[in-house]
Amino acid sequence: MTVTLTHYLVLGALLFVCGALCMALKRNGIGVLMGVELVLNGANVNFVALAHFNPAFAVEGQIFALFVIVMAAAEAAIALAIVLNFYNNHLSVDVDTAEELKG
């Protein structure tokens, strides 16, 4: 029972789905942020798994994962700043109160 690439990819997909659902179901802004982190992690799992199983991608896979991690950190910082600003403006972190874009 070897662990094949597909296993890892399924894990990544699961994380991705969890992240997406997290974004869709959490009313708390920070929860949404967490969902984003989960999605990114799912992607990272895929990167690294592919880097492992595809020698032509060995270096790039990992490096892209690194990039994603860094970008996620940056994104988290920014998103948190936005959430804090949002909180300052609306006195709430409930994203449902931000409905100015309603058609």
Binding site: L25, V48, I78
Partner: protein
């Protein structure tokens, strides 16, 4: 117990923990708990990286994500953690839709994963310290050393066409740019998130 088996067991274990924790993040209603579940998910992911022989990435994952990002998230939670917002509940209908959609998406991804034909030049190898991509190799790769570059052709070319053999590429400069970018973003985030005393005064 062969290396493969051990690896499989470890994989299933880590993967199960990660998946469950991720589901926990989704399911839990309390934001602080969700942060805790997330912590374990991220850590699990780092474990998966270890299993895949990507030591350096795993380390960075723990350092940056678990150590940095998550702390940041927790700070955010704490800063906004007033009682009404700790547990904002979604409606049951939302939950129902979310579950269905989640399953659909997962099903779709799963189907596509299984139906895909991963036509790699070499079959996957098991991870071993020998051929793990440790930080030294990765560092050399980043600098673009020829020797560090795996001797394999590039993938993804249409059948019949001869794939060009790959050359070493140095990723150091982008990496540096990304690092500086991170720095800038962090400073920017700090600026954005600073407290404003008089909202009215600025808005008018």
């Amino acid at each position: 117990m062969s290396t493969n088996e051990l690896q499989a067991i470890l994989f299933y274990l880590v993967a199960a923990i990660t998946a469950l924790c991720a589901i926990g993040v989704v399911v839990t209603q309390h934001i602080v708990r969700a942060a805790t579940w997330l912590l374990f998910t991220l850590a699990g992911t780092a474990g998966v990286f270890f299993l895949l022989g990507a030591d350096f990435v795993a380390a960075i994952q723990i350092l940056v994500y678990v150590g940095g990002t998550l702390v940041l998230v927790v700070f955010g939670v704490m800063l906004t953690a007033q009682s009404p917002f700790i547990s904002l509940r979604a409606s049951a209908a939302e939950w129902a839709i979310g579950t269905v959609v989640g399953f659909l998406l997962f099903g779709m991804l799963a189907v596509s994963l299984y139906s895909a034909n991963w036509n790699f030049p070499e079959p996957g190898q098991t991870a071993s310290p020998k051929n793990s991509m440790n930080s030294v190799v990765l560092g050399e790769s980043l600098l673009g050393f020829e020797e560090a570059t795996p001797a394999a052709n590039m993938t993804g070319f249409p059948p019949g066409a001869a794939p060009p053999s790959r050359k070493a590429v140095a990723y150091l400069l982008p990496f540096e740019i990304v690092s500086v970018h991170l720095l800038v973003v962090l400073i920017g985030a700090a600026y954005l998130a600073r407290a404003r005393r008089r909202r009215q005064a600025t808005s008018t």
